[in-house]
Amino acid sequence: MIRLFFKELFKMVRQLRSWLGPLSVFVLILVAFPLTQDIDTKFSHQTTFSFLWIISLLVIMLSTEKVFLEDFDDGSMEQHLLKPYNFSDYVSAKVTSSFLLIGIPLSCMSWLFLQSAVAMTNLNLVSLLSFLLSNFIFINFCFFGNAVSLKRGSLLGLLIITPLLFPVLIILGKMLSAALLGLDYSNFLLLLLGCSLISGPLMPFVISYILKIHLE
């Protein structure tokens, strides 16, 4: 499993366009966004956080668009199916590599942007955790959507996963509202943590089952 993870990680590192491209797009948007604002405008917390969550989601959708298609087309996915390890381990390795190379940098860059954009008196912890957890959930669901719509274009996958992502976005918004009002936001954070802990172990099995159907 560890060897498989490092293999997928180094494979992804070598394919610069698969992770550096989306991160570059994210940076460009972060740079461009303040240019559309008046110099005297104070960014509201809610707007800035929402903007960052949505942009992170879109960048993750972009980065995971053909995550399985290449392996499916060149036959390496079938090779993984025949190997002695679980097929879900292969999916887990891909998800973890994506989270390391895309999810964590996105979270850090979002948090850094917030330091400059808005007053972050009591929001440092909640903001970083919200980005890390939400990006992890987004990556899992985007992988799921791409597994379902493997050769049928990413739009079908988006149509499938978007309704499943809306509850996550609602929880994020409510958590921020509670944090801004000085209320207890831990229940929302725990809900997000629960979603991550469920989607993390469970999604690879579901995705591997779906990919096996494609390979039949």
Binding site: F144, R152, L156, L159, P163, L164, I170, K174
Partner: protein, 242 residues
């Protein structure tokens, strides 16, 4: 004997035969019942002391909302049966429910929007209940698109069943949204634990409209599932002999 009944019923041919016999009487009864319930609710119930006559859309909106969620649960139940026991009839029924569920959900949102104008002063609000119902509509549309995008029915059916089971989490979210979040949409007037907060004069036609609308929609599901069976089993001799 029960096992024999289910084995026979699970055969598309037997189901088709039974459905053909009961379809028309079933539809007729529930259409008449729904018309009666609507007439009772629209014409013979008293005015609401706050909303006046605008509340009467409840006899269309509430049944539609209720049935849209029930249909998704039925789809989920059929999907479980298909994935576990591989009964193809169950996925035929589930697949035929999807477009009907989408239409009913759209009607629930549409009638809710109409009701929103006199009560809330707005067609739409990004309220928890309304947003989660919109998510339900998008899910129905996604399922229809997903199934139609595959040439191979077997693969399409399995993906369909998996996505239905993934999406069923939305139903308790819709149900509990008015309790978990402070929403514009009112909380449940009819609960299992407390007495209903609706006057009995309005409650009786409401229950009847919910029941009759559900029966009507199930009649349409029977009709739709018959066509789905004819489409899928068209190569079978019993279909060719019809």
């Amino acid at each position: 004997m029960l096992k024999k009944f289910f084995h026979q019923f699970a055969s598309p041919k037997s189901y088709f035969r039974i459905a053909t016999k009961i379809q028309n009487p079933f539809l007729l009864i529930f259409v008449l019942l729904y018309v009666f319930a609507l007439a009772w609710g629209l014409l013979f119930t008293p005015e609401d002391y706050v909303q006046g006559n605008s509340y009467r859309i409840i006899f269309m909106h509430v049944p539609a909302s209720f049935v849209s969620q029930i249909l998704f649960l039925i789809m989920a139940f059929c999907s479980v049966i298909f994935l576990v026991w591989r009964l193809k009839l169950s996925i035929y029924v589930a697949k035929s429910i999807a477009p009907i569920g989408a239409a009913v959900t759209f009607f629930a949102l549409f009638s809710g929007s109409i009701w929103g104008i006199p009560t809330w002063g707005t067609w739409w609000q990004w309220d928890a209940r309304i947003t989660s119902t919109l998510i339900l509509l998008i899910m129905y549309l996604g399922l229809i698109s997903l199934h139609s995008s595959f040439n191979n029915y077997e693969k399409a059916d399995r993906f369909f069943a998996i996505i239905v089971l993934a999406g069923v989490i939305n139903i308790p979210i819709i149900k509990k949204s008015v309790d978990w979040w402070s929403t514009l949409h009112q909380s449940a007037s009819i609960t299992l634990t407390d007495a209903p907060s609706i006057d009995p004069l309005m409650l009786a036609p409401l229950f009847l409209s919910i029941f009759s609308f559900f029966g009507l929609i199930m009649g349409i599901v029977i009709l739709s599932s018959r066509y789905e069976i004819l489409l899928r089993e068209q190569s079978k001799s019993w279909v060719k002999s019809l």
